[in-house]
Symmetry: C2
Subunit: 195 residues, 2 copies
DNA sequence: CCTACCGATCGGTAGG
DNA sequence: CCTACCGATCGGTAGG
């Protein structure tokens, strides 16, 4: 099937680009190198993708969508704030560990987006962060979380999570779910009210 | 004084490059843009610096030196492991907040170093991380810290610290020392043994 | 998916 | 610190 072959080639391009953007950065990666790694000429890439930036967009928005989707599911459960927060942290880890390279690109290279893409991306990012801030604020109001600057706490937690890619090894001795639970335990006991 | 003027110009170049590398990345910043921001021609930069990479080296190694120096002072105090760890976290925050842009470059752009510089940089980085790992291991042995994967814990803590630049505002409502103490409190209560 | 090619821009040098 | 310039490389297009 021609359509499937094209789709698969497009997928290969995005996948190879993800590895390159991660290790050399978006600006440090050239379309020629990308093509060479796939065994084709640079010009041939443009029958599958419109531009270099389009590839970056696909990667960034796919991961952003993943994060927002699982977060909506967590919120739908309507548990107590600190339990929602725990679930949200674990799910965040699962999304990241499922595709470490794409997550690294998502986190480090989105600044190279331009125009409306960049605006839209920042909106999604802000929306995601705001949920964490709100959950912490709710937890403070209900007494589960100690009095703390909720924005400060939320961004610190998200920083820890988003840097997983710098040390996580898929073949390490910690399974993804374990990583999430360990991190949730560690980060939440730091803001929880002592009983 | 001619020498001072030259030194000051060199300092200006490094300072402006730091801002650019932070916002657009090393590979995304050109020597022409850098020169334009300083009001001179690109070729003129080369009477002050040997190459683009030399500028990056200066930034990365200066910050790395800062981190290692304050860490040595903390270790010289020979407190109990968890107290050394607390001091180390606070000092790390002070170094970062003293120069947020350079710290961001240090953390995000060192991968663009090459050859011996890169090797040497990684050695310093590893040495620094190893001290944190050792402190946690000691804390576990002395019973102050709960049983945990010390490498996992150390790298999580350092990730949180190194991402300060993504949210820290020098004119915000948290003073540098406060940031450090809040973070130390939050991160350490997550690994401390319950009394 | 290729060859052939475009204009723009890159890091850096020579010589003053 | 400048003018003038180098070879290399960039993202991307035309046409097949």
């Amino acid at each position: 099937m021609l359509i499937n072959e094209k789709a698969s080639r497009k997928h290969q391009i995005e996948s190879e680009a993800t590895q390159m953007f991660r290790s050399k950065g978006y600006a440090g990666s050239s379309m020629r190198d990308l093509a060479a790694n796939l065994g084709i000429e640079a010009a041939s890439l443009y029958s599958h993708v419109k531009s270099k930036e389009e590839i970056l967009q696909k990667i960034c928005f796919r991961i952003a969508q993943n994060f927002l989707e699982v977060l909506q599911k967590v919120l739908a459960d309507k548990k107590r704030p600190i339990e929602s927060l725990r679930e949200a942290i674990i799910m965040h880890c699962l999304v990241m560990t499922r595709d470490v390279s794409a997550s690294a690109v998502f986190w480090n290279e989105w600044k190279h987006l331009s125009g409306k893409s960049k605006e839209e991306f920042i909106q999604m990012k802000t929306k995601y962060e705001d949920v964490f801030i709100s959950l912490i604020s709710e937890g403070i109001n209900s007494g589960e979380i100690r009095s703390i600057d909720s924005k400060f706490a939320a961004l610190t937690i998200l920083s820890s999570l988003n840097c997983i890619h710098t040390w996580y090894k898929p073949d390490g001795n910690l399974a993804p779910r374990q990583v999430g639970e360990e991190l949730a335990g560690m980060l939440l006991s730091g803001i929880q009210n002592k009983k």
